[in-house]
Point group: C2
Chain length 222, copies 2
C-alpha cells in the first residue's frame, strides 16, 4: 500500500513542478535547485555568488530549512530578494513549497533564481522543483567517497560544486578519485572545485550561472 501512495505524492509534485518550470521558462529565468549535505557550504556559495555578481546577474534566492531563518538573514544582508521556507520538519523542499514562496518573491526582471534545499544528500533528489538544473554542493571534509555512497543525487546533477578546497592540505582527500567517480557516474556533470573562503574557482561557477542565464533568456525570448 505504501508505494502507490508515495507515487501519487510524487506525481502531484511533478504536476506543480511542470507548472513552475513553464513559468520560469516563459520568464527567461534560470532556476537552480541547490542541494547538498548539512554544512557543505550551500549558503556560503550563495553568499559569495550574490556578493560578487555585481551587475552581471540579477539574482533571487529561496532558502529552504527545517527551522530558523538564519540562512535567509545571511543572504538578505546583500540586498537581494530572498524568501525563507521553513519545512517544519520535512527533509526536502517540494514544488508546492516553492510555488508558495514565489507569492512573496518578485521574480520579474531576475536572471537567476537560486533555490537552496534542505541540507540532505538523499531525499531532495526525488522532488522536482521546476528548476532548469540541479547543483550539488559537496565539501572536502565529507570525504572522497560521497559520489559512490549517494549516487542518486550525484547522477541528477548538472553541476557539482566541490567546496572547501582551502582545507585540502589538512585532509586525506583523494581528489583524482572523486573526479573519477563522478566522471564514471555522471559524465555530463560539470565539476567546479571551489573554496568559498579563498574564492578559488568561484569564477567558473559564476560563468556556469551566466551561461545558464543566457540560455534561459534566449529561450524565453527576452
Amino acid at each position: 500500500m505504501r508505494i502507490p501512495l508515495v507515487r501519487r505524492v510524487l506525481e502531484a509534485n511533478d504536476l506543480i513542478a511542470a507548472e513552475l518550470r513553464a513559468g520560469f521558462e516563459k520568464a527567461g529565468l534560470f532556476a537552480v535547485n541547490v542541494m547538498g549535505s548539512p554544512g557543505a557550504g550551500k549558503t556560503s556559495l550563495i553568499e559569495q555568488t550574490v556578493e560578487h555578481t555585481g551587475s552581471r546577474l540579477r539574482i533571487g534566492v529561496i532558502e529552504g530549512d527545517i527551522a530558523t531563518s538564519l540562512d535567509a538573514d545571511r543572504i538578505a544582508r546583500f540586498g537581494v530578494p530572498v524568501v525563507q521556507i521553513n519545512t517544519g520538519g520535512a527533509c526536502h523542499l517540494d514544488a508546492a513549497m516553492v510555488r508558495k514562496a514565489l507569492d512573496r518573491l518578485e521574480v520579474s526582471g531576475l536572471d537567476v533564481l537560486l533555490i537552496e534545499n534542505v541540507g540532505n544528500l538523499v531525499c531532495p533528489a526525488q522532488f522536482d522543483l521546476g528548476e532548469a538544473c540541479k547543483a550539488v554542493v559537496c565539501s572536502l571534509p565529507e570525504g572522497d567517497d560521497k559520489v559512490l555512497k549517494y549516487p542518486a543525487i550525484f547522477s541528477l546533477a548538472s553541476a557539482v560544486v566541490l567546496n572547501k578546497l582551502d582545507l585540502l592540505e589538512h585532509l586525506k582527500f583523494d581528489l583524482s578519485g572523486f573526479r573519477r567517480h563522478l566522471g564514471e557516474l555522471n559524465p555530463d556533470a560539470v565539476l567546479l572545485e571551489v573554496s568559498c573562503v579563498s574564492g578559488e574557482g568561484l569564477e567558473r561557477w559564476m560563468e556556469w550561472l551566466e551561461r545558464g542565464a543566457r540560455n534561459a533568456r534566449q529561450s524565453g525570448g527576452r
Copy 2:
C-alpha cells in the same frame, strides 16, 4: 490521507523496535544508534572505537548505507562482527532492517552494538531502532549552527560527538556557541569533543560506551 499512513508506518516500526529493545535488554547488550550527516565521521568514530577498545568491550557493528559496502569493509579489517545493510535508496534505517541484519550477526557475548545509520541529519531521527541510546556525530566543518537548524535529531541524542576538532584552527567555528545551543536545546546530552585523526577526546567517548555497557549488563542480569 498522507499523515495517517505515515503514522501507521511509524507505529509498525515502533512495534518491531520494542521487540528489538526487549531482546537487547535481555541480552544485556548496549545498542547505540549512531546518526549524523554524510561525512561527519560516523565510520571513522566506529573504526577508532573498535581499534582501541582492546579487551575492554566486545563490539558488534551494523553498517547502514544507501549503496556500497565501503563502510562495512572498513570495519571488518579490525576483525569485529559487522553486517552491512543497503537501504536501496531509503534515507534512514528502520527497525525491520535491523531485525533482518541480526539474522546475520551473532550478538550473544557482545557488550555493545553500534548501528551506523544512513548519513542524514533529518529522517533517521524519526525511526526507533530499539536502541538504548542515540548518538549524533557532528563535525566542525559543518558549521556551528547545526543544532539550531536540525533541532529534532539533537534533541533526541543522549550523546553528541563533535568530531574533527583537529581542524579547529583552520575554520571559523564558534565552539562556545555550539556548546550553548546544545545545552539550551538538550541539557541532558553528553557532549564529547573529539578528533578521530589525532585521537583527542576519544577516551571520554570510550568511557561513555563502557558506562552504557555496564548499565546494560547489570539490567540484563549478566
